[in-house]
Structures are given as C-alpha cells and as structure tokens.
C-alpha cells in the first residue's frame, strides 16, 4: 500500500515537474506576457521574421497556430471554445463562414492600407465589397513537371495528362474539388457545376486517367517531386515554387484553357478576443514592404499592387506565377456549393481513388 501511494505521489510530482518545464519553456518565448493575439493560419504561411517584427512594433505576443485544410479549421472554429483573433481561410470557406455567421464584418476605416490591394482582387463574388475578408495571397492550380523525365511541350494542357506515355507518372493532389476541376475543365464545364451528369461524366473521364496516376497525396508531393519520384504533379502554385527552388529541373504551368484561381483571405472570427490587434495585424501585413517580404518567403502571388512592384522583375514576370491576362480570363474560383452537392463530389472522388490503380 505504501509502495502504491509513493508511486502515485511520484508520478504526480513528475507530471507537475513536466508541466512546470513546459510553462517555463513557453514563457521564454512569451516575454510580453498577457497581451497576445492568436493567429490561425496554414503551416509555414508567413515569414517568421515578420511575426517578430510585428511583436516588436506593437508589443503584442503572437500565438501562431496552424491547420492543414479549410475543413479541419472550420471544424475547430465551429466546435467553439476557440479564441482565434485572425484566421486565413480560402475563398469558398469565407463564403461558408459568412453563411454560418462565424466571422465578423470588417470596419474598413480601421484598415487604411486596404487601398494597396489590386482592384482586380477586390470585390470578388465570394465576398462582395470585401465586407468580411482581405486577400492575403492568391494562386492557381497547375501542372508541375520534371524536364528530365518529360518534354515540357507534352504537359501544357490538362488533356495531355491522359497521354499513355505518362503511365504511372502523375501525382494528384488529394482534394476532390481540385481533381474534378481538372476533369471538368477538359470537358468544358464549370468547376462549380452542380449538374450530376456533368460530374458523372468527369468521373468517367478521370477513371481513364487511372493508369497514369501514381499516387493521390497532399504535402508529401513536395518531397516526391523534389526527389524525382514522378514526372508530373498536379499541385498549387505556391507548393510548386517551393519544389522548384529545391529541384531546378521542375517547372510549373498553368494550362491556358483554364484552371482554378484561389484566394486565401484574412478574416476576423466573431469569437475573437483581441480584435484591435487583429486589425493591426491585417494592416501590418498590407504594408507593401511587409507584403513583399512575405511573398518572397512564402512564394505565392501577392494581391498587393504596391508590394508586387517591390518584388524582383524575374518573379513578377514569371508567367507561371503571375499568368498573362489571356490565361487569367479563363481562371475560375470555387464557389461554396450546397452540402449535398459537395457530398456528391466527395463520394465520386472516393470512388475514383478506389479505382486508381
């Protein structure tokens, strides 16, 4: 009995010690103490140097937490109990959050730097008048290829991915909407179609792609493309840039017949505790010098007109990342679809994955 009691006390003491260690460890990085602003963002999606700069300028402590999909982020916000001050969802999720009354309308008077945003990225259909959101980065869905393994001319268009010569050499992103977008565009339909027959047709089309599909993965694609594991990948522009910086044989193409264009946006949740700091952070990130620095670090395209001018010419002239007007015309944004339609996308995608061999 004594032994049991002693063991219990010992374990509890150990836990306390560990908890204290944890506290001490986090206190070191948390000198400013009480005034914190909690930012919920995609992993590695802001230059850490900018966070420190913001902390120094304002005296706030930034708590930076990350998510890896809009859906998981949405679940956490919906679940409640969270107190994020600033969240960075994609456009269709902004629409959803708006509908579910999860985000607060923005007071534009508190955002003097908003005018730096290029007008073509303002007032988009997912948030008319930018009442709830400020664009953070934008990008495209496209094809990344390895010039050692495939001729660039053979992978300029979506339909070319069906070429039998690419057998077992194409990696797809694990996302129902993106994979369907690719198929819907090749058959000339909208990426937001709610027409079941079009979807079904797209899926039949996708099934013919299966001999070429090597894997359907997410973040892992970076590593595999960098290591020459596959010739072609379907991925987002920002990830593509990262891969290209490691492996110089990789190139990124936005098919001229059309693709998805997406926006990640800063929004303030209704449940935010420190709205003042959130506004300050948005303004800080809109500052052209900061936005340019962030764009250089993250590698995605900035919607900030002034910041774009500060970027090196070779970046902004790169048609893969800032596509020409003719391509831009064909790019479509995702709209938030009714849940049962999304369910159909997901079920058809699951079926596609099952047969992807």
């Amino acid at each position: 009995m004594k032994k049991l009691f002693a063991a219990t006390v010992g374990i509890l003491a150990l836990c306390l010690l560990l908890a204290f260690g944890d506290y001490a460890l986090n206190r070191q990085t948390n000198q400013s103490g009480r005034r914190t602003v909690t930012i919920y963002n995609w992993g590695d999606y802001v230059d850490p140097a900018l966070i420190s700069k913001f902390e120094q300028q304002t005296g706030y402590h930034v708590d930076y937490e990350t998510f890896d999909s809009n859906e998981s982020m949405l679940t956490k916000i919906r679940q409640g109990g969270t107190n994020y001050d600033l969240v960075i969802p994609s456009e269709y999720t902004v629409q959803r959050m708006k509908r579910e009354h999860l985000i607060a309308p923005l007071d534009h008077r508190k955002l003097p730097n908003l005018h730096y945003i290029d007008p073509q990225f303002m007032n988009r259909s997912f948030d008319p008048g930018n009442r709830y959101s400020v664009p953070y980065f934008w990008g495209t869905l496209g094809i990344i290829y390895n010039d050692q393994m495939v001729d660039g001319r053979d992978v300029q268009h979506w339909s070319q991915l069906w070429n039998p010569r690419l057998k077992n050499n194409v990696m797809l992103i694990d996302s129902a909407r993106d994979v369907f977008a690719m198929a819907l565009i090749t058959q000339g339909d909208s990426v937001n179609t709610t027409n079941y027959h079009q979807l079904r047709k797209a899926q039949r089309h996708l099934k013919q792609l299966t001999p070429n599909v090597k894997a359907i993965i997410a973040d892992e694609m970076k590593m595999y493309m960098e290591q020459n594991e596959a010739a072609v990948g379907v991925t987002y522009s920002g990830d593509a840039r990262e891969m290209m910086s490691v492996n110089h044989h990789l190139h990124y193409v936005v098919p001229s017949e059309g693709s998805n264009i997406w926006f990640d946006n800063m929004v303030i949740p209704k449940a935010a505790r420190n709205k003042a700091a959130a506004y300050q952070f948005i303004n800080f990130m809109l500052e052209p010098a900061n936005a340019a620095q962030n764009a250089r670090y993250v590698g995605y395209a900035t919607p900030n007109r002034k910041a774009k001018q500060l970027l090196p010419k070779r970046v902004t002239a790169d048609r893969a990342f800032y596509p020409p007007r003719t391509t831009m015309k064909h790019l479509q944004t995702y709209r938030d679809l009714p849940l049962h339609v999304l369910g159909e996308y997901n079920d058809l995608f699951l079926e596609f994955k099952m047969f992807a061999k």
Partner: protein, 272 residues
Amino acid sequence: MKKHHFTWGGLYLALVFVILYAPILYLMIFSFSAGKTMEKYHGFSFQHYADLFADGRMITIVINTLIVALLASLIATIIGTMGALVIKDSRGTWRNSLLSLNNVLMVSPDVIIGASFLIFFTVLGIRLGFMSVLLSHIAFCIPIVVLMVLPKLNELSPTLVDAAYDLGASRWQALSRVVLPAIAPGIFAGYFMALTYSLDDFAVTFFVTGNGFSTLSVEIYSRARQGINLEINALSTLMFFVSLLLVIGYYFISKHSGRRNRIVAVKEGDAQ
C-alpha cells in the same frame, strides 16, 4: 531432433529478425548521418540531435505527450483497479456482461474509438485539445489495467481476506492491508502497459486532438508528410532506447513477481 532442421529453421528465424529490425536500424543509422536525406550516408554527426534539442516545439510536444501518458495511465490505473474489484465481487451474467463491456474498447478498431469519441466530445461541447486527449487516453487504458489486475485478484486466496475480517479488520483495512499489497504487482504491470498504450497511440489522438495540441505520433505524422527530416530519425533513436529501457525494467519486475512472462500475456491480451 535432426540437426539440419534446426539450421533451416535458424536461417528462417534470422531472416525474420532481419526484416523486423531492418527499418528500425535504418532509422537509427541515418540519425547519425551528416547529410539531409536517407539516401546516402554522409559521415558521423550529432547534428540532428542538436537540432532536435533546439526545436522548442518538438520539446513542448514531447513534454505534452509524457504528461498525457503519465497522468492518463495513473487515473486509468486507479479506476481500472476499482473496476477489477467490482468485477471480482460480481457474479453470473452480471459479471459476464461487465467483462464483455470491459473488452469492447480492447477489440474495437482505433478508427471507431476515435470517431465515436469525437462525436461524444462534440455533443458534450468539450473543447478538443489537452482535455479531450487525456480523457480518451484514460478511457482506452482502463480495460488494459482491469485485464492486468483481475488475474492477480483471482489468485488471491479468499481465506486470506476472511482471516483479516476475523481478526476484526474493517473493509478498508482489509483492502489496504491485505488485498492491495497482494495485487500490487498487477497494478504496477497495468500502469506500465497503460503507459505504453498511451505513448504509442496515434489513431485515437488524431481524431480527438485540436487547438494546436499535439502528441508525438500526430506530430510525426504531419512531419513525415512534409518529407524526410533526420530530426525524426534522431527522435526515433532516442525513443527506441527509452522503450528498450522500459521493457527491460518491466521484464525484471515481472520476473520478480510471477512465473509467467506477463509482457507476453498482455500483448496477447488473454484475460484469464
């Protein structure tokens, strides 16, 4: 026995051991490589260990994982021991249904445990994070403790307890002076097994964690998806030696307390 039989068998066994240990050794060897990938060995270096200890987030996560494991196992051991006492005192169908209910979480696939706990926490409005992970770990560790303590209780001779009562002991005295000391090895073994279950869990935690709270398994999953990072190799080497120490320690405890190798018994999960 014929001699050649042994040789073939020995060869086969050697092959199986090579397969079992090759991936683990592979991880460990590259943790000492100066390179950045697991393709080519680049000369001996402690670089990745240095990186690991400098990685504040990783250390916080290791601490979190340990706190959850230690605390969850402790609470599970207390409740599980009570449960074993309850089952021991029950009779007939009631006892059988208790035993079956006890084993539900042992046989359920992790995905089911994770998914159903996620619904449960959402319905109750419990915030996903440390608390939900701790509660889940307590929940799936309890049946293991029960299964470890119950055989010890069954071995306990009833006359011993009766003797204590005859000598005028209260229930509490009988429990604390006679029963608990007798089953203590089972309780320690239960705690140890709960600890390894909790440390090893990925699937359940993956479902019920949130709000930036992460345990080692979940963190390794997200890092492994971002690519090979030899810091993970360094971590796995350290973890291998820690588990080795735990197993050796446990091996001696169980040798000390009973004839049958209880590690074997519980991995099989044979209740009686």
